[in-house]
């Protein structure tokens, strides 16, 4: 097992001892959301500004089932994953043939469209008030109303998601998506139907977003309208960029930084998103690879200093 995996495992065990259980749970949920985005952003080179479409759609549908029918947890998760994947297929189908700014704007515009559906359809979604009253039905005798039990469940699902995503990026598909990111004309010329592969990346990313959305609705017992709004799309994007979209583990670090910042700073400073903006600018200007790159650079700087010190002696 690699060192990165050991670090992730250690974090999963230690986190609930360090912070509130709900916060710890939210970090892993957001990390799943980020993993899904990064398949598009980091691997395929598609900047989707509409990931909350899949997150929110899954949260509403599964939340509705949980609320009104107290569905089995796994059934709710399964439905959420399918809703995430299907909504992503729909959005992806309309977007994959566009590129650059058009692509970004279109993902954003479609996200807005879903947002307004949720906003208007108050009988189901509760509109601005959100959809409250979502429970966490027990599973195999485990009571998920206990925060620690729910934390363990989410952390386990995160690890499973991480493993699945690792298999995906290490498969031929992972290489093909990166090839498309690097040079889509050549990828097409050597035999890949580029729009179709981009669509596949959307669907997989949407499935992960859907899973995250359902877990989120169960965590807070409510689907807030923002869950399908552009702020959520922006949050996961910023978090992933800050963590490092060029790295497989970047979204996890991004999730830690983002959720921790929003928790600790937002209480003392209402305008904390400003800080997020500053962090984003720093990343874009100096550390395109986000925290992962900053960390790697710090280490090589230290090594060099050590080596110099060695020579000086």
């Amino acid at each position: 097992m690699s060192r990165a995996w050991l670090a992730v495992l250690a974090a999963a065990v230690l986190l609930p001892m360090a912070v509130r259980h709900a916060l710890a749970t939210e970090i892993w949920i957001f990390a799943i959301f980020g993993l899904g985005l990064n398949l598009l952003l980091g691997y395929t080179g598609l900047l989707s500004f509409g990931q909350s479409t899949f997150f929110g759609a899954a949260a509403y549908v599964a939340g509705y089932l949980l609320k009104h029918y107290e569905t089995n947890v796994f059934a709710a998760l399964g439905v959420g994953i399918v809703v995430g994947a299907v909504s992503a297929a729909l959005v992806g189908y309309l977007c994959v043939r566009r590129s650059g700014l058009y692509f970004i704007m279109l993902t954003f515009a479609l996200n807005q469209m879903f947002y307004f559906i949720a906003y208007q359809w108050t009988t189901v979604t509760g509109g601005e008030d959100g959809m409250p009253g979502i429970g966490r039905p027990a599973l195999l005798g485990v009571d998920f109303r206990n925060p620690l039990a729910y934390y363990v469940f989410v952390a386990a699902l995160f690890l499973l998601s991480l493993w699945i995503m690792q298999r995906i990026v290490e498969s031929p598909l992972g290489k093909i998506l990166q090839a498309i990111r690097e040079n889509d004309v050549r990828a097409e010329a050597v035999g890949y139907d580029v729009p179709r592969f981009k669509l596949l990346a959307f669907v997989i990313g949407g499935a992960f977003s859907g899973l995250a959305g359902v877990l989120y609705s169960m965590l807070f017992g409510i689907v807030p309208l923002e869950a399908i709004g552009f702020v959520f799309s922006g949050n996961v994007l910023f978090a992933t960029l800050i963590g490092g979209s060029g790295s497989f583990y970047g979204p996890i670090i991004g999730s830690f930084v983002f959720i921790w910042l929003s928790e600790s700073v937002s209480v003392v400073w209402e305008r904390w998103p400003l800080l997020l903006g500053v962090a984003f600018v720093i990343v874009v200007l100096f550390f395109r690879g986000g925290c992962v790159e900053a960390w790697a650079r710090f280490w090589s700087w230290r090594e060099r200093r050590r080596a110099l010190a060695g020579i000086a002696q």
């Binding site: 298999r167 290490e170 498969s171 992972g174 093909i176 090839a179 690097e182 050549r186 010329a189 050597v190």
Partner: protein
């Protein structure tokens, strides 16, 4: 029988007819060169053959099958592989991955696409390594493509086409931008491929063409103005007037 054939192939970009009624036959196993001055439409002809864009009119027949209008990725699966005049690789990927991607596509099987680990595809990796060895890049396999020299990128460009195990190899000025030394190496390389593949070669440098070609077609302002053996082409007065005169003086 001709392996690759075009019938009155035409491509117009607005008012400009880049390829104009080209009828061409490439015999299996030969090296067929296409020459012509800048802007003659040679690259556009390749773009048509590989399905980059559809022709305005005319037909393309590959191995007895009409492939006119077939999208680029399907044509690649049929066994038509090309290299590009302007180096067109995957910069951040390793040299091996650059070639692996092409080798995998030619396998025409999507089995294990999202789940099997890519290092488990032994035959694909083997084909990729052979292609790298063919162009002399075997020892650079793990370097990112963006870190190698221009000359090596030209070799990689060729390796990507070879990795597809093509039935027809379309080479668009493989020696573009190379030093005289590197050009020599590239010529030797192409000569080594002759006989193993059916090759269509676009080239500017006359000495290369005359030494390696079985047949030569000359393009001028989008049209074919002559075709024959290298010796016939050199003697052809129309070719000399349109094109060779300038080149020979160079």
């Amino acid at each position: 029988m001709a392996l690759l054939r075009t019938e009155s192939l035409t491509k117009a970009f607005g008012a400009l007819t880049a390829v104009n009624g080209v009828t061409l036959e490439v015999q299996a196993g030969t090296l067929h060169s296409i020459i012509g001055p800048n802007g003659a439409g040679k690259t556009t002809l390749f773009n048509l053959l590989t399905g980059q864009f559809p022709p305005t009119s005319g037909r393309i027949v590959f191995d007895g099958r009409d492939i006119t209008g077939t999208p680029a990725h399907r044509i690649a699966h049929l066994g038509l592989a090309r290299s590009f005049q302007r180096t067109n690789v995957f910069p951040a990927l390793s040299i091996l991955d650059n070639v692996w991607i092409a080798a995998f596509a030619r396998g025409r099987s999507w089995r294990g696409l999202v789940w099997r680990r890519s290092d488990g595809y032994a035959e694909v990796t083997e084909r990729a390594r052979v292609a790298l060895a063919d162009v002399g890049l075997a020892d650079k396999a793990d370097q990112p493509a963006r870190e190698i020299s221009h000359g090596e990128q030209r070799q990689l460009e060729l390796a990507i086409a070879l990795a597809a195990a093509p039935r027809v190899l379309l080479l668009d000025e493989p020696a573009a931008g190379l030093s005289p030394d590197e050009t020599q190496k590239m010529v030797a390389l192409v000569r080594g491929l002759k006989g193993r593949y059916t090759i269509v070669l676009i080239e500017h440098k006359m000495d290369i063409i005359m030494g390696v070609s079985d047949r030569v077609s000359v393009m001028h302002f989008g049209s074919l103005i002559a075709e024959g053996t290298p010796a016939e082409i050199q003697r052809n007065p129309e070719v000399r007037r349109a094109y060779l005169g300038g080149m020979v003086a160079e």
